[in-house]
Subunit: 228 residues, 2 copies
């Protein structure tokens, strides 16, 4: 038997994870309602656990909870999208720097392995997997940076980025730059900090520029103040 206590995830963490995966793979589109009963029978668990998972996801910002109305997949505004990328541009250079400082062979191997999976999915033309794996690449980097607060935040921002891509990406563009992840890892392996940071910033800018974040957004009007 397994004498070593392996930290197995709780039921609710599992449920939250599966929902997050579905969102990252664009199977659950933004704004969709997540009815508790439906999810409960889909996951073969009680409604209570689903409810817990939904509150967790709400704290992470991936779903929005309207009192007495239920849970919906979040649908970030254009403004939100801009702030999100601004935040990532703030964090990820530091992530890259810390990974260069800390990463040993094992960590570099994990990065390589992940990139291999990305290439595989690209070859198979599995767009859904590509988008999810692209997000997870940044989450992996953040984890390897060793800063738990940054890592936790990136675990929230990356799924949200996938949502934003679902909302604002022009469908036909490849969306995910072919080799930018590889080049970042190569710079990290060479411990070339300046290049790695620069590549990361360009990568983020590139992803944001692909989106149609035009200013003619549907402004959410403050109907209260409008006629005050």
């Amino acid at each position: 038997m397994n004498t070593i206590a392996k930290s197995e995830k709780s039921d609710i963490a599992l449920i939250a994870e599966r929902i997050t995966n579905a969102v990252m793979e664009h199977r659950l589109p933004p704004g969709v309602k997540l009815a508790e009963e439906r999810l409960a029978e889909a996951f073969k668990v009680s409604r209570t656990k689903v409810r817990h998972a939904l509150t967790v996801l709400a704290k992470e910002g991936l779903v929005t909870l309207y009192p007495n109305r239920g849970a919906f997949v979040a649908s970030p505004s254009v403004q939100d999208a801009r702030e999100l990328f601004a935040t990532r541009r703030l964090l990820e250079p530091e992530v890259v720097r810390k990974v260069i400082d800390r990463a040993g062979k094992a960590e570099l191997r994990r990065l390589r392995a992940h990139i291999a999976k990305e290439a595989e999915a690209r070859l198979a033309n599995d767009r859904r997997a590509v988008i999810k794996l692209s997000g997870e690449f940044h989450m992996l980097l953040a984890k390897l940076s060793g800063n738990p607060y940054i890592s936790k935040l990136m675990d929230e921002l990356c799924p949200l980025t996938c949502l934003i891509i679902a909302l604002y990406d022009s469908p036909q563009t490849p969306a995910c730059p072919e080799d930018e992840h590889i080049r970042i890892v190569e710079a990290i392996e060479l411990k070339d900090e300046a290049t790695a940071v620069s590549l990361m910033l360009h990568h983020l800018q590139h992803v944001e520029n692909e989106l149609k974040l035009s200013v003619d957004e549907k402004v959410d009007i403050d109907w209260e103040k409008m006629f005050a």
Copy 2:
């Protein structure tokens, strides 16, 4: 009647807020057990709501949840403390910059009002209020920055900072620098970005330096690998 829908907080948000306040005021020390039944009768609510509030606080990192054992106020390690300050040094300069760009008269007034409350608490020798208000000053700044992701993260990091102060502060030192907040606000009012950022960084460094984060920490030993 109040025709304007005021977004009233849910019960569980209220409970979580009261617990957070207690932690920030050092009334709930790190590591203390938060038994559901006790809290339920203290707040005059059912255990279900307390349970929800605790999972929310766990997601925020302020309490730690051990399965089948209950909830405990978090007690961050020295390593955690260092990473926390590193993260704040990364975020708060950007916060200051954005506040300088965005803040109008109303926002500056709110900052001034907050500092007045801090001075008041200091005058009354209310150390608990001083610590809480000092944390809330940074949360207010983050909110005024207009970036919801940074603001949300600061809403988690500031209570944690209060916990770290409870753990590692030498009790007799004043702990909270007298006038550093005031000088930051003054620089913001003058729109002197360089000075404001510099003051913020010095402030954070100052707070961290006051702590006894010596390296002879109680290393949490990996008993699994130790005898492998």
